[in-house]
Amino acid sequence: MALDDRIVITGIGLTAPNGNNLAEYRQNLLEGKSGVVDYETRYMPPVLAGVCNFDELRYQKRKEVRRGTRAGSVAVYCSHEAIADAGLDWESVDRSRVGVYLGITEHGNVETENEIYEISQFDYDTKVWSHHHNPRTVANNPAGEVTLSLGITGPHLTIGAACAAGNAGFIQAAQMLRLRECDIAVAGGISESIHTFGIFASFQSQGALATHEDPTKACRPFDVDRNGIVVAEGGGICTVERLQDAEARGAKIYGEIVGYAMNSDASDFVLPNSTRQAECIELALGRAGISADDIDIVSSHATATEQGDIEEATALRRAFEGTSAVINNTKSFIGHAMGAAGALELLGNLPAFDDGIAHATINLENQDSRCALPNLVANEPRNLGQVDYILNNSFGMLGINSVLVVKKYQG
């Protein structure tokens, strides 16, 4: 068993509230364009959300869209895009050797809410509860829809990891590739969360749902006027391979996954823990065999909640104070894409290996002194010239932390 195999990202498919492919997404991140809009959900007054507008019918028949789930459609779109981008000759790929590993924050709430609404129109007669409910809500649904769409007969699963899930998908891929469970991993994170009113209502009850008269200014990580989360949907899925396989087929290589870590706070259902976050960062750096000084860009997780941002800033100061690493935040553009957040935030930063630019944290007008960070890229992109290492934070409820370290590939 070759557990020290080098693991690389070779294809990218994504849909974000401000872009449906990497080029469009990156351009909008560099130009400061938000994807947050006014949005209507069931039972509640209008809210704000990051909404994706990818073409569901590019890779699915209308019947497949109807029978499946929004999460499935996000996953199918991103997976097809990633495979096309990877330059794989799909017809000749041994699909029994392809694994699908998708991080999710939650799944099934959308479909359950829809069915409850539907039976409410029939005096709660459960005889009109859909026979599609179970296949739509099983936790593996989004990954399973990918296998159906692409004829993949290798393993598939979703990784339930709250908002740490995007990184968790990539970590699972690296592990499965090293264990020789698959030769190609289709991996990342997805979210359809804006289609359930419950997530908005719960954040509102928690006092953690962002409001702003201008939707594009609503998500304000580290800003003193932040007032909560903007819920978003999206997907970020990559083809991930062992380096030797990628090199053998002459693949384009976006970056190498050189370090990762996951740990648990074991301290609270909701409130994050800066000590455990810092430990997770340090663990990932150690596994990568580098120090904090080597990191060029830290892609922060901050969601623009009161305590969450303070905790992460505290962790980042512990890990990176005195280094030249710059810190940015992608949620300020797209909101919190839940299971897709970690993946989209990493993917938005990957082009920095080529252009040397760190995209900004927008809506940062008055940085909260409790979130003091020396190298926060505020409002305008920063040209770093050379970027060799990106560290991506992703944290979630129940105290789940994930950190990924990606290195520029130099063949």
């Binding site: 028949k61 109807r66 029939f122 005889k127 859909s130 599609h132 296949p135």
Partner: protein, 86 residues
């Protein structure tokens, strides 16, 4: 509903559950499954849609009557003859 109206109701349901199909040449004498992609879950959608729209209860032992458009209309006619089109 008349037989022709019932046929249209069933056709509308088929168009919703199989939106990629061209049903303009549907042969009423040929089983649905021989003319279009229709699996068991789709078939249950027909039953469900009729239940929702017209409160028609179709017991499982009667499913065989929904084999073709012709047999479906014949089966539904007595059940829907006093029901207006929704």
């Amino acid at each position: 509903m008349t037989g022709e109206e019932i046929r249209q109701v069933v056709l509308d349901i088929l168009e919703r559950i199989a939106p990629d199909e061209d049903l303009s040449d549907l042969d009423d004498a040929v089983p649905f499954r021989d003319q279009m992609e229709l699996d068991s879950m789709d078939f249950l959608d027909i039953v469900m849609e009729l239940r929702k729209a017209y409160r028609v209860q179709i017991p499982e032992e009667d499913y065989q009557n929904l084999n073709t458009m012709g047999s479906t209309v014949e089966y539904l006619t007595p059940k829907l003859k006093d029901v207006p089109v929704a």
